[in-house]
């Protein structure tokens, strides 16, 4: 019997499953609150507003320059709580494992998950594993719920966004989208660009108590433009982005130029977009610039009255509407 790979029997509730949970999951994720024999756990009392979020993770390939599905899942959930102004505390994780996945690979991803969780002072308090038949999954899916806490005085909300507010971003956009694409070695392209997958907690902690900070969001799927659309829709105002100001790495620019992708729609996994009162923008930037994660932070646009559109002011002085994504972006074929 091949004992280096996940079998359907690893999901049958018997000995193999128990051993997998002990040897892989509990070994990496173990902590005083995690009881693998319990059906449910009691959490300690916390002061402040409790916040909860959930997210599912799938990425192809499972490992890419700058991260893997384990660290990606932690960062994704940490970041959703962080941009809401919260500190993450407790996670639950469900792993859907495809029959045939190498156990050593699973071990790497869960170890990476545990490392990222420790770095963000998060503990896993409940978990579950399932095995799906070969061909019914892409190696490993992770579903993670996160509980965090924030001060009751936090006033981050989209409805505070007003015309003339300034749009900031904490660093270059599109790195994750291009890094993962290069890692797939499609289109005969390869490269060393690293994903930006990271916790944004240091960035949000540094600025979340500013009264003139109105809203934060982490651009993930759909990229910067999609966050801008969410802001435009919810606030009832237009968002104007300055093409010359949006930070892009040279590798992202050249791949986009080659394949005809629009960098504003590419995924990020470690950036924050913030909406700030114009006179407080420099304060936020100063705090961000003091952090390694925020070195390249800058003002990239503003909120305008009239419509709920997203407009890109191009380097040539033209104006272009950035429409909402319709289908997945495709590479050019001419």
């Amino acid at each position: 019997m091949d004992d280096t790979r996940i079998l359907l029997a690893h999901g049958n509730g018997g000995r193999l499953m128990r051993e997998l949970i002990t040897d892989v999951f509990a070994r990496h994720l173990g902590n005083p609150l995690l009881d693998t024999d319990a059906d449910a756990v009691t959490l300690p009392h916390v002061d402040g507003e409790l916040m909860v979020t959930t997210d599912g993770f799938t990425v192809e390939p499972l490992e890419f320059p700058g991260g893997d599905i384990g660290s990606l899942a932690v960062h994704g959930v940490v970041n959703d709580l962080a941009v809401a102004g919260a500190d993450p505390l407790y996670f639950t994780v469900s792993a859907l494992i495809e029959e045939g996945l190498e156990i050593s690979a699973l071990d790497r991803y869960i170890s990476s998950f545990a490392r990222a969780a420790r770095q963000n002072h998060v503990v896993v308090v409940a978990g579950d594993t399932k095995v799906v038949r070969r061909g019914e999954g892409s190696g490993l899916y992770l579903s993670v719920a996160g509980i965090g806490v924030r001060r009751a005085s936090t006033r981050l909300a989209m409805d505070r966004i007003a015309p003339d507010d300034v749009v900031l971003v904490s660093g270059p956009v599109g790195d994750h989208g291009i890094a993962v694409m290069l890692a797939r070695e499609q289109f005969g392209l390869s490269g060393e660009l690293r994903s930006d997958s990271a916790s944004v907690l240091p960035l949000t902690r540094a600025v979340r108590d500013f009264p003139h900070l109105k809203f934060m969001r982490d651009p993930t799927r759909g990229g910067l433009a999609t966050v801008a659309h969410e802001i435009a829709r919810a606030s009832g105002h237009s968002v104007v982005l300055d093409q010359n100001a949006v930070p892009l790495r040279p590798e992202v620019v050249s791949v986009c130029e080659m394949l005809g992708y629009d960098p504003y729609f590419l995924a990020c996994e470690g950036r924050v977009v913030a909406i700030v009162d114009p006179f407080a923008a420099d304060d936020v930037l100063a705090r961000w610039h003091a952090l390694p994660e925020g070195r390249d932070a800058c003002i990239i646009g503003r909120v305008e009255t009239g419509g709920t559109r997203v407009i890109l002011e191009t380097g040539l002085g033209g104006r272009r509407v950035l429409d909402e994504l319709e289908d997945d972006p495709l590479p050019r074929i001419c």
Binding site: E257, D262, R319, L330, I333
Partner: protein
């Protein structure tokens, strides 16, 4: 961007007492132009006309129809560039009208981004016939040819709908009313076939032409070049994409194209047969020719020139006769969510590009 500004200033320094139209024949060019907001930044007398530059848009209806039938009835795995999946064919209401609908109806259709993916899918499924619906210009046909020459799995066949770009431009120029004063020649096509393929525009028609890449600077440089040629009366094929498009193109690519494929007369959707404008597999590769392997679904009755859906002016848009928003149904019956014609489907299609760029106001032709 500083160089772009400089080119823009030089273009603004020209004065013309009549409107000047520059045609591009590459969806990638049109996308760069629209995305950069170039039209708003250029002088009023200068018009940029998108021409035949979208391989998805000109792929004949009968080929899409055949691909749909193959996928539905022959239990094949059909692989196609993602753009092809939503292209509608003309069928009665209730019938499957696109590959995407065939997929929803249970057909095994897989979108791919590169011909290599077709080979991989065939290798991963040795027990099933895999058909690669290869619509495209020289740029995507060349890698398909290279793959054929290298040898492909026995279970992989190709439904080739490859087209050459220059014959469509030659047809426009020969028509006597080309509708443009200068041409920006396609960068990637020139990378494969060599820039000199476009010399006929100057030699036979005395129309200024320049090869351009996809960056703002390269495109603006090409506009400047053709405008200067118009001004001075000088005529030469300029190359504003020298770092990538070399004289002679890609000799290996051309050799493999020639080795595996022959140039044939071909139908362009809504336009008709253009002489020497298509590729077909050479007889030596007949065992991989899906048209020969699955003859049942070839329907010559569908081979009509004017088979755009009713009201759709895609053919006029493709030929640069009207702008996308001059189509009768642009933004009304036809939007990216419910495309009627292929130009609203593909990311290379002028209608789709204009819509995505925010053009919402339809105007009369």
């Amino acid at each position: 961007m500083d160089n772009a500004r400089a080119w823009l200033d030089k273009i603004h320094a020209f004065e013309f007492d009549r409107p000047i139209k520059i045609m591009n024949v590459c969806g990638g060019h049109e996308r760069s132009i629209t995305h950069a907001g170039m039209r708003g930044a250029l002088p009023k007398w200068l018009e940029l006309v998108p021409g035949p530059g979208c391989p998805v848009c000109v792929c004949p209806e009968e080929d899409v129809y055949q691909a749909i039938r193959l996928a539905l009835h022959d239990k094949v795995i059909l692989v196609a560039f993602g753009d092809m999946l939503r292209v509608p064919v003309n069928v009665k209401k209730g019938e499957v009208r696109s590959l995407a609908e065939a997929q929803a109806a249970g057909a095994d259709i897989r979108p791919i981004a590169s011909p290599i993916d077709a080979r991989r899918i065939a290798q991963d499924n040795p027990d099933r016939p895999v058909v690669f619906f290869a619509a495209g210009f020289e740029t995507t046909t060349a890698p398909t040819a290279a793959m054929l020459a290298e040898g492909i799995p026995d279970n992989l066949s190709i439904l080739l709908s490859g087209r050459l770009t220059w014959p469509a431009v030659a047809m426009l120029l020969d028509s006597g009313s080309p509708g443009f004063d200068a041409l920006v020649a396609p960068g990637h096509v020139s990378t494969v076939m060599g820039p000199e393929e476009w010399s006929f525009v100057i030699d036979r028609h005395e129309i200024p032409a320049a090869v351009a890449g996809f960056g703002t600077e390269s495109l603006l440089a090409s506009f400047y070049s053709v405008l200067r040629q118009l001004k001075t009366g000088e005529r030469f094929l300029d190359n504003c994409y020298r770092e990538v498009a070399h004289p002679g193109g890609n000799p290996t690519g051309r050799r493999l194209l020639d080795h595996t494929l022959e140039v044939v007369d071909a139908n362009w959707r809504g336009i008709g047969i253009i002489p020497n404008s298509g590729y077909a597999l050479r007889p030596a590769f007949a065992q991989h020719d899906a048209r020969l392997l699955f003859p049942d679904h070839t329907d010559p009755g569908r081979r009509r020139a004017g088979e755009m859906p009713p009201g759709c002016d895609c053919a006029q848009v493709v030929l640069g006769k009207i702008y996308p928003n001059q189509c009768r149904i642009y933004g009304k019956a036809c939007t990216p969510r419910n495309p009627v014609g292929p130009c609203m489907v593909s990311d290379e299609g002028a209608c789709r590009i204009w819509w995505a760029g925010g053009v919402r106001v339809a105007v009369d032709a």
